[in-house]
Amino acid sequence: MTTQSDDLHLIERFKDGDNSAFEELILKYQDRIYNLCRHMLGNAHDAEDMAQDSFIKAYQNLKRFRPEASFYTWLYRIAVNTCLDFKKRPFFESLFRTSDKGEEFVLEPISEGPSPEKELETRQMMHALQKGLAQLSPKFRTVLILREMEGFSYEEIAEVLDLSTGTVKSRISRAREELKKSMTKFTEQKRN
C-alpha cells in the first residue's frame, strides 16, 4: 500500500468516527511538520505551538478534505500558512513572546573527521547560512526550506503554495541568488 493510499484509508476511518486514525496520522507526520515549523520560525517553543496548531486545524478541516488531493501536501499547506500567519502577528503580541532571532543550526556530525580549520570553516559557513536565511523574505525562505530541507519537487512545492511550477522555478532561483548575496555580505563583514 502506498503512502497516499495509507493516508486515505486513515482519513476514511477518521470520517467514520475513529479518532485513533487521526492519532496515527499525527505520529506519521509530526516529525516532518515540526521540522518545517522549526526552520520556518527558528525556535523550539514557537515551532511546537505552530505544529500543534497545524494539526488542530487539520483535525477541524479533515472532513472537508478531497481524496483526489495528496494529504501530506494539504497538511504542509496548513503548516506553512500557520507559520506565515504567526510571523505576521501584531507587533504587540510579538513583544510578549520569545525572540525571532532563532537558534544556531544543529550540525550533522561530519563523518570524515575534519581538521579543526575545516570544522571552523564549516561552522562559519553554517552561521552565514543561518543569518542569510533569516534575512530572506518569507516567500523566498519558504521555497528554500521546502526544497532544501524537506526535499520537495517543484511540482510538490507548487501544490503546497498554490503556485504554478514556473513561479516556483523562478522563485527558487531568485531565493538562492539572494541567499548567496547576503551570505557573502555577512562573511565579508566578519572578515573586516
Partner: protein
C-alpha cells in the same frame, strides 16, 4: 544560449527539474562559459551546506498534547491581523512620534516670557514656610515673633 538565459536555468538544472532539451542546452553553454560554470559550482556548494543541517524531531509527547488539546476543545490560534488592528498599530506609532516631536520642539523653543515668570515664581523659596503649617514649631516661632515685637 546567452548567459542571462543560462543564469535562470542553473538552479532547476542542479535540482534535476529541466527537460532533456533544456538540460542539453545548459550543458552546452556550461562547456564554453567559465562564468556560468563558477555560478553552477557556487549554487552546488550552497545546496551542499543545507545537507549539513540536522533534521529536528517532534518533542516527546507531542502527539499526546495535540490529542489532549483537541479533547479540551482548544481552538487553533489565529494570527492573521485584521485591517482594523493594523490601522490601530499605525495610528499608535504616528501618535507616539507626534508627541515626541511636540515635546522636543517645546524643549528647544522654551516657554513664553509670561510662563517663564510664573515658573520662576513657583520655584521661589518664599513659598516655603520655615515650619510645616499648624505644627508646634510654627506656634513657637509665632510666639517669639510677638514677644520680639513687644
Amino acid at each position: 544560449m546567452k548567459c542571462s538565459e543560462a543564469h535562470k536555468l542553473i538552479s532547476p538544472y542542479i535540482d534535476s527539474e529541466l527537460s532533456e532539451k533544456e538540460r542539453n542546452a545548459v550543458e552546452n553553454h556550461l562547456n564554453v562559459c567559465p562564468g556560468c560554470r563558477t555560478e553552477l559550482e557556487e549554487t552546488r556548494q550552497l545546496q551542499g551546506l543545507f545537507e549539513g543541517v540536522a533534521e529536528y524531531k517532534a518533542p516527546y509527547g507531542f502527539q499526546t498534547r495535540v490529542m489532549a488539546n483537541l479533547a479540551a476543545g482548544r481552538p487553533a490560534k489565529r494570527y492573521s491581523i485584521p485591517i482594523l488592528t493594523r490601522f490601530a498599530e499605525a495610528v499608535a506609532v504616528i501618535g507616539v512620534i507626534a508627541i515626541g516631536m511636540i515635546s522636543g520642539a517645546s524643549l528647544v523653543k522654551g516657554p513664553s516670557p509670561e510662563k517663564a515668570q510664573i515658573m520662576v515664581a513657583s520655584l521661589s523659596l518664599d513659598l516655603f514656610e520655615p515650619t510645616p503649617p499648624g505644627s508646634l514649631g510654627g506656634v513657637y516661632l509665632a510666639m517669639t515673633e510677638v514677644r520680639d515685637e513687644k
